[in-house]
């Protein structure tokens, strides 16, 4: 029996079109748009002004508050303006615009590709430096990494889990990274291990990436305490709570954090970024992005400077196909449809997916026939068929009782519903309202 999480889940067609594509450097764009909100938490505060010259890797905005993150220039050039622009989220948010003049990096960055394995910094120093370098969770949640590494007093991390699941259909950026930067990832893992002071590490990878599993397994032999586990392919296994259950059989409590069950989890991309930051002094200003779609000429994995417009990625992959009906930042299950390809790539952008017109429209909404499939596929054990009408009727106290806040918006319910009901859409609305109510309750009177 192969390892996987216990409850629910679906198996959509994998469509990993770019699985065999090597990582290619995308040409440095003529200008970049670097949003100040690329992480969970408050937007960063700019520390440069219009007209300033910057080098790649230079700090241009400082994290504002505990759960926030530093932002660095991704090209060398001149700050042309700092103003609000629509980003991937669809909202107008402040961003720093830079006109590119070249590719000069700040001097502190070590651009020599040779692997550095010895870790000189102490745990505390590592955490501090990761914060400075603007590392956030690259699996999609973009939670600042230094915050996750600071285990609260009274809690102890026992396992470090590295997420190489990439359960979203189509996406292959983590897969490509594991194949090409396996050694760096392994050193990144050792750094995280040292910062957390844990002994046991498990890398979880789904069985549709056997090459990555065997590659990392061989590399892991050099690092005692590091195991690589193959997992049965099932969505949403990349969900933190699902992966923890699959690998160490512990359930993160409702409303709790992984550290409540003595686990801390990071994405493989984050482990690589940590390696670059600590061993090479390289702040996070580029990442691997999959550009994919059935009608696209050359689905590919690119190394992209943060702030590059999505349109440039699509061009490099063969241009926007005629039949494009939807452009998605991320995968087809949890990604965001964007209104224009002019928005910039951010730290959390793992892929750009182009869906043809024929796959872009939803089916006609039919009556709920109570087939209970939404319940069987919900990985959190919720009842989407019930949550939707509760949300429509604005019965927020009932929604809270029915644990609507546990929903991680994986979309398995909407995917499965034979009546094409917009289950997740209404659950999201309900979550937003219940979230507000809970926050207002916590405020001191």
């Amino acid at each position: 029996m192969s390892t996987t999480f216990a409850k629910g889940g679906i198996h959509p067609p994998e469509n990993k079109l770019s699985a065999q594509s090597k990582i290619r450097d995308l040409q440095i764009p003529a200008s970049v748009i670097i949003p100040l909100s690329q992480h969970l938490g408050a937007p960063a505060k700019p520390v440069v002004n219009k007209g300033d010259a910057v080098k790649a890797g230079q700090l241009i905005a400082k994290g504002d508050g505990f759960v926030s993150s530093n932002i660095h220039a991704s090209v060398a050039g001149k700050v042309s303006k700092i103003e609000e622009t629509v980003d991937i989220s669809g909202y107008k948010r402040p961003a720093i615009f830079i006109e590119t003049s070249g590719d000069e990096w700040i001097e502190t960055i070590n651009r020599d590709p040779a692997l550095i394995t010895s870790i000189s910094l102490t745990g505390q120093e590592i955490i501090g430096k990761i914060g400075e370098m603007g590392i956030v969770g690259l699996g999609g949640a973009t939670f600042p990494t230094q915050v996750k590494l600071s285990v609260p007093r009274g809690k102890k991390a026992e396992y470090l889990i590295i997420n190489g699941v990439e359960c979203e259909p189509y996406l292959t950026s983590d897969h490509a990274l594991m194949l090409e930067k396996g050694e760096e990832i392994m050193v990144g893992i050792q750094i995280l291990k040292k910062a957390l002071n844990v002994e046991k590490v498990i890398v979880g990878i789904e069985n549709n990436k056997t090459d990555a599993i065997s590659h990392l397994r061989i590399l892991a032999q050099k690092y005692p305490g590091t195991a690589v586990t193959g997992l049965k392919v099932k969505y949403p296994q990349g969900g933190e709570k699902q992966l923890i259950q699959a690998l160490v059989n512990r359930e993160v409590p409702s409303g709790g954090l992984p550290v409540d069950v003595s686990v801390v989890a990071f994405n493989v991309g984050t482990a690589f970024a940590v390696y670059e930051a600590i061993q090479k002094n390289n702040p996070l200003f580029e990442r691997i992005v999959t550009v994919t779609g059935k009608s696209l000429k050359q689905p590919a994995n690119f190394r992209v400077r943060i702030g590059t417009q999505v349109s440039a990625l699509i061009e490099a992959a063969g241009g926007l196909p005629e039949d494009t009906g939807k452009i998605i930042a991320g995968g087809p299950m949890m990604g965001k449809a964007i209104a224009s390809p002019e928005v910039p790539v951010m730290k959390g952008s793992s892929g750009i997916l182009l869906l043809p017109e024929t796959e872009s429209k939803r089916g006609e909404i039919e009556p709920c026939i109570r087939c209970s499939k939404c319940i069987s596929v919900c990985p959190m054990g919720l009842e989407p068929y019930l949550l939707m009408p509760l949300s429509q009727k604005a019965l927020f106290d009932r929604l809270e009782e029915e644990k609507v806040m546990d929903c991680m918006e994986c979309g398995s319910c909407s995917y499965t519903c034979p009546a094409s009901r917009p289950l997740l859409d209404y659950i999201r609305l309900g979550k937003a309202q219940v979230g507000k109510i809970i926050r207002s309750r916590k405020k001191p009177a």
Partner: protein, 333 residues
């Protein structure tokens, strides 16, 4: 960019199953039983089934068109399923006007008054059937003989069902060993060579349909398996205690409506519970009530009533039996 692109919330891809594909799947699953009914009851089976399907679909169409004045949804196929299942629960010599009356009642009162597909608390086909059983008790309990009545409709020769023979025999003070001479053997029961409703008789055909429903992931095993096991277990205990005055458990699961009830009627998505635990409780209830009616009640058969009674408990089951939530509550200091 000149193209207009769609912007909508995730997910952006969807599974293949639709309401129509589910209903089509159920219809396909009923094909083996229909073929058996044509083989056993011939023209009668064809006439009764056709009338039931046409009148169910027409009733739904007319109600949507002239009373509710909504877009018609007959293309989803649910009325065809109701018609088929109603027909399968009728004797093959039933007069046409009774079938139409039952169909109108099944769709009109069983389904549309509650708001149509998805909103009815009771299985519409069973609502129709029980209405007919009460309204036309004589015609609804005269059963054409298999094979022999193939070329007959209203004039088919009739006899009692195996369950009826057992009930009557025990009432007259006979013992099982004597009664057993008057009913077909287990193999014939399994194949469907007995008097009964036209689609309920052939266990083997219905089980084929069950395999199809499981394969197409339209239902799960819980309700059919638990219901049949409950009937088997309960009648098995009675039979072990007193084999002279109780039919064997194999006889009980192969006769009457246990198979069609467990596989096609109790599993009706709309009127069965939402969670697996709920399904088990519900199926257990149906099994127990079926046996109680068969053994202690005045009717020889009780599957229809048992399912309708348990249908009534479904909202309550859904309210109290919740799926296991992921992660236990954590206390925030």
């Amino acid at each position: 960019m000149s193209q207009l692109i769609t912007v909508s919330p995730s997910p952006h891809v969807f599974g293949q199953q639709s309401v129509k594909s589910i209903m089509t799947g159920v219809i396909v699953a009923l094909v083996p039983a229909f073929i058996m009914s044509l083989f056993l009851f011939g023209i009668g089976a064809l006439v009764v089934t056709s009338i039931a399907i046409v009148s169910c679909v027409l009733t739904e169409y007319l109600i949507q068109r002239f009373i509710l004045k909504t877009a018609n949804r007959i293309s989803d196929g649910s009325a065809i399923v109701t018609g088929l299942l109603l027909a399968f629960n009728l004797p093959s010599n039933l007069p046409w006007w009774m079938i139409i009356t039952g169909s109108v009642f099944a769709i009109g009162i069983g389904k549309m008054v509650f708001g149509g597909l998805g909103n009815n608390p009771f299985n519409p086909a069973l609502v129709g059937r029980v209405f007919m059983l009460i309204s036309f008790p004589v015609q609804m309990t005269s059963w054409p003989l298999p094979i022999a009545s193939r070329m007959h409709y209203l004039d088919a020769a009739t006899g009692a069902t195996p369950l009826g023979i057992v009930k009557e025999g025990l009432r007259n003070g006979e013992v099982m060993s004597a009664i057993a001479q008057q009913v077909p053997d287990h193999m014939r029961l399994f194949l469907g060579y007995m008097n009964g409703s036209l689609g309920e008789v052939s266990a083997v055909a219905l089980l084929l349909g069950f395999v199809w429903l499981l394969y197409k992931r339209i239902i799960t095993w819980h309700i059919p398996v638990v219901m049949i096991a409950t009937v088997f277990g309960f009648t098995g205990v009675l039979w072990l205690i007193d084999p002279l005055h109780n039919a064997s458990p194999v006889f009980h699961i192969l006769t009457g409506g246990v198979m069609i009830g467990a596989i096609f009627m109790a599993t009706d998505l709309v009127t069965s519970p939402m969670t697996k635990t709920g399904m088990v409780i519900y199926a257990l209830g149906i099994g127990i009530i079926t046996v109680v009616i068969r053994v202690y009640g005045s009717y020889p058969e009780g599957v229809s009533f048992a399912i309708l009674i348990m249908n009534a408990t479904v909202p309550l089951i859904n309210k109290y039996i919740k799926p296991g939530r992921f992660g236990k509550e954590v206390k925030h200091g």
